[in-house]
Amino acid sequence: MHKWSREQMAQRVARDIPDGAVVNLGIGLPTMVANHLPSGREVVLHSENGVIGMGPAPAKGAEDFDLINAGKQPVTLLPGGCFFHHADSFAMMRGGHLDVCVLGAFQVSATGDLANWHTGAADAIPAVGGAMDLAIGAKQTYVMMEHTTKGGESKIVAQCSYPLTGIGCVSRIYTDLAVIDVTPQGLKVVDCVDGLSFDELQKVTGVPLARQ
């Protein structure tokens, strides 16, 4: 089965981010979206540690560790960017001031519940960071993840078995096979990889899908 690469997934998400949007990109795969934003589109990147208007990584040797992103990597500031404290930064999320947030996930349910912070394993040390705030805060929450686990199980499920990050918060799912909208009427396929039929996609998805 043909699959989108991680780069192609990032490209596909980037295509859907409109000019002028204020966006928070989660750690990991979502961070790659920044590299694929079409030129000519002005997109403002927010990072929850207290910066908006983030630019690309600095040149080697020009890193300034007072200027970092949520992944604690050095970044740069674009003209127009600014800094603010943590309570303001999370007010930007919780208050619905961000247009789009892109997050990774372990599982997403058919009703848009998100599980991405904790495997729930007994010996695992829990760490949540800003995951729960991000999940419920933005106007649109996009998830990027593989369609299935390494064992072939669907990561789109009727009900999350991992501990929840947020309830009904996901608006769109980008996998390596398809783009799927979470709607009040259920999951709707927006797009899928070339050559993959709806029936084939349905077969590897844990819950019923609808054609767009």
Binding site: N49, F65, D66, K72, H85, V128, G129, M132
Partner: protein, 233 residues
């Protein structure tokens, strides 16, 4: 005359008692008040409750305070990191209590304490493990969880410039928790790299008004563990 400038970090932390709740600013190495943490280790207070976004990295700073068995409880959002081995060991052996709080709830609980708010309803965490046992309420068709303020006896923060009234400005993302922790503590101790004459901080650029700060100490600009930051031009 008001003069909040202390001669040394040691002087500024002399009266931290055993059992105190101590907020420590910083996110990653940005804004982490290393000199104050080292002074707190030397000072000897124990049975502390620490409020910080993380739970220490490597073997220095907050990690060293944990390793010295001086902390009873930590309130944070993201304890687990690749180099949080001191936290991991103490937590797994049951020697350290953890209160895990979503990062935005942590920030807002600190802000609420400083602002005299007795708690607030937030949508963050509703329906998750971290809201278990907490009061919930439907407001305007949406579900919210009640969160209470977090007060502290001391806040240890890192700023960039200050004056003898305690007015502070910060540098880039090193600001992070500094301004809200300064509001939430009975005694806020800030390190700065410059103590300037009253009136020379641009009043439009003062981020933390001096009334939130009780003590400031000048420290040298040194390399951070992550590789150092450049001198301010």
């Amino acid at each position: 005359m008001i003069d909040k400038v202390f001669a040394s970090v040691t002087d500024a932390l002399r009266d931290v008692p055993d059992g105190a709740t101590v907020m420590i600013g910083g996110f990653g190495t940005a804004g982490l008040p290393n000199e104050l943490i080292d002074a707190l280790i030397d000072q000897g207070a124990k049975d502390l409750t620490i409020v910080n976004n993380n739970a220490g990295n490597g073997d220095t700073g907050l990690a060293a305070l944990l390793a010295a068995n001086r902390v009873r409880k930590i309130i944070c959002s993201f304890p687990r990191q690749t180099d949080s081995h001191h936290f991991d060991r103490l937590y797994r052996s049951g020697q350290l209590e953890l209160e895990l709080v979503p990062q935005g709830n942590l920030a807002e609980r600190i802000r609420a304490a400083g602002a005299g708010i007795g708690g607030f309803f937030t949508p963050t965490g509703y329906g998750t493990e971290l809201a278990k046992g907490k009061e919930t309420r439907e407001i305007g068709g949406r579900m919210y969880v009640f969160e209470s303020p977090i007060h502290a006896d001391f806040a240890l923060i890192k700023a960039e410039r200050g004056d003898r009234w305690g007015n502070l400005s910060y540098r880039m993302t090193a600001r992070n928790f500094g301004p809200i922790m300064a509001m939430a503590a009975t005694v806020t101790v800030a390190t700065v790299h410059d103590v300037v004459e009253l009136g020379s901080l641009d009043p439009e650029a003062v981020v933390t008004p001096g009334l939130f700060v009780q003590r400031i100490v000048k420290v040298r600009r040194v390399a951070t563990s992550a590789g150092g930051f450049k001198q301010v031009a």
